[in-house]
């Protein structure tokens, strides 16, 4: 249990710093940025306390917001993603989630991709919706969500492949 707390704390801090110091400056093709810090929400223990999870994801988003001067848009996006995570888990992993027996690394690839993709796209949609703050640029909003989301999903799976333990 202790190692779970330590690894999640380290992940929290490293992801926020990586996001604000490096990834926010990518601006690929002018507007595409990956939001890798969503990975914290993806990897948070599936059987962890949901109340604590909501608070932590709010703080995660707020941490990024402080650096970005963006009000509370990241906090709100993280919170929404964290709130719907149990539903997404049940949708993607089916029954095995209800019995809380699954580990992220030992799930089938298809359901893993759908889980990450739904979480990332919901997060990005809320994020950009609040950033634009109106529906006038709806097409740009969808475009930005899609491309940034694709970038983030790709980066999450790359990072997972890079840091996965080969102790099987």
């Amino acid at each position: 249990m202790n190692s779970v707390i330590v690894s999640n704390t380290v992940r929290f801090i490293v992801l926020v710093l990586l996001q604000v110091l490096l990834l926010n400056n990518i601006n690929f093709l002018g507007y595409i940025n990956p939001y890798l810090y969503v990975m914290f929400l993806v990897l948070y223990p599936f059987n962890g306390n949901q109340t604590l999870f909501l608070i932590l994801s709010f703080l995660l988003g707020l941490g990024v917001d402080i650096f970005e001067d963006s009000g509370g848009i990241n906090a709100a996006a993280c919170l929404v993603a964290a709130y719907i995570r149990p539903t997404v888990l049940r949708f993607s992993f089916g029954v095995s989630y209800d019995y809380q027996t699954i580990k992220f690394s030992s799930t089938p690839a298809g359901s893993r991709i759908s889980y990450v993709a739904i979480l990332v796209l919901v997060h990005h949609f809320v994020l950009f919706l609040l950033e634009f703050f109106n529906f006038a640029h709806f097409l740009l909003l969808v475009k930005k969500t899609f491309f940034s989301g694709l970038f983030t999903i790709l980066l999450i799976f790359l990072t997972l492949a890079l840091f996965s333990r080969k102790s099987k």
């Binding site: 710093l17 604000v20 110091l21 926010n24 601006n27 002018g30 507007y31 940025n33 949901q50 109340t51 909501l54 608070i55 709010f58 988003g61 707020l62 917001d65 402080i66 650096f67 970005e68 001067d69 963006s70 009000g71 509370g72 848009i73 906090a75 709100a76 919170l79 929404v80 709130y83 609040l130 950033e131 634009f132 703050f133 640029h137």
Partner: protein, 275 residues
């Protein structure tokens, strides 16, 4: 009472979600209103410290570019100085319409700059201890950057001209017709100048400068070049697309402008409005 407590415990996640969502939306809405100063900004001890630490490393990679810019600016100032000294011999009176003496310039370093969002801010490495205050103007040697918004003891945040809330008074260099400079959130090299009356002599390539009507910027600081223009629907005003002189994606050092008479002018204006 028991039922209420049971209800609260049963729905604690939903209630917590709504509470935190409400708070973050409050912060978001607050960040969209320009006049209020924010609770949460990057001009604080922690994020300012981390940003200045990374910019210490980053700035080494651009030293050559910054040197070239300084040389360019020195060259321009020297040539102006020489013409000024020449004219001194003939002209001994003080030109009171040219109020440049009322402005104090302070150099500062940009430690964080964003330009890809709809509302962009910069963070500077000087704050209240260096005499920086809210509503001071920020420029580079090439053009304007923005206006100081939040100030902490050592850092300050700047609302960039690349921000949908930003409105800056600007005018044509050729004539005195003025309008306001806004940004549509798309291209960091182009801003929009609106409210220029259709009688104004507008042509592609003309220079746009700051107008003297705001108390923030001195008159005549270059902003950009007219790239394209069209009449709006009522056909009485121009919508002008302005290409910035400044490369907003690459700003290293800036000048903060303090207008020493700002307070006096503002007091006078308030007095006049009250009557």
């Amino acid at each position: 009472m028991q039922q209420i407590i049971n209800f609260l415990i049963r729905n604690k996640n939903n209630l917590l979600f709504l509470l935190l969502l409400g708070f973050s939306l409050f912060l978001t809405i607050q960040s969209h209103s320009y006049q209020k100063s924010k609770f949460i900004s990057s001009a604080n001890f922690l994020s300012g410290g981390i940003y200045s630490w990374t910019s210490n490393i980053n700035s080494y990679f651009s030293l050559e570019e910054y040197n070239l810019r300084l040389l360019e600016e020195n060259e321009r100032l020297r040539s102006r100085l020489s013409t000024y000294e020449d004219s001194l011999e003939i002209k001994t009176y003080v030109d009171t319409t040219y109020a440049e003496g009322n402005y104090i310039f302070r150099a500062s370093e940009v430690i964080n700059n964003n330009y890809a969002k709809v509302d962009n801010y910069l963070t500077l490495k000087s704050g209240a201890r260096d005499g920086v205050e809210r509503d001071m103007g920020v420029i580079t040697s090439r053009g304007i950057v923005g206006i100081i918004e939040n100030v902490s003891p050592n850092f300050s945040t700047v609302i960039s001209i690349l921000n949908s809330n930003s409105r800056i008074n600007a005018q044509l260099k050729e004539s005195n017709h003025f309008g306001s400079l806004t940004w549509n959130g798309k291209d960091p090299n182009h801003v929009q100048l609106t409210d220029i009356p259709s009688v104004a002599p507008v042509s592609v390539g003309d220079t746009i400068i700051t107008g003297g009507r705001s108390l923030i910027f001195p008159k005549g600081i270059p902003i950009g070049r007219i790239e394209d223009f069209s009449l709006d629907q009522s056909e009485s005003f121009f919508n002008i697309s302005v290409e910035l002189f400044n490369d907003m994606t690459n700003i290293g050092y800036v000048y903060i402008i303090e207008n020493t008479q700002q307070e006096e002018i503002r007091r006078l204006q308030n007095l006049t409005e009250d009557e």
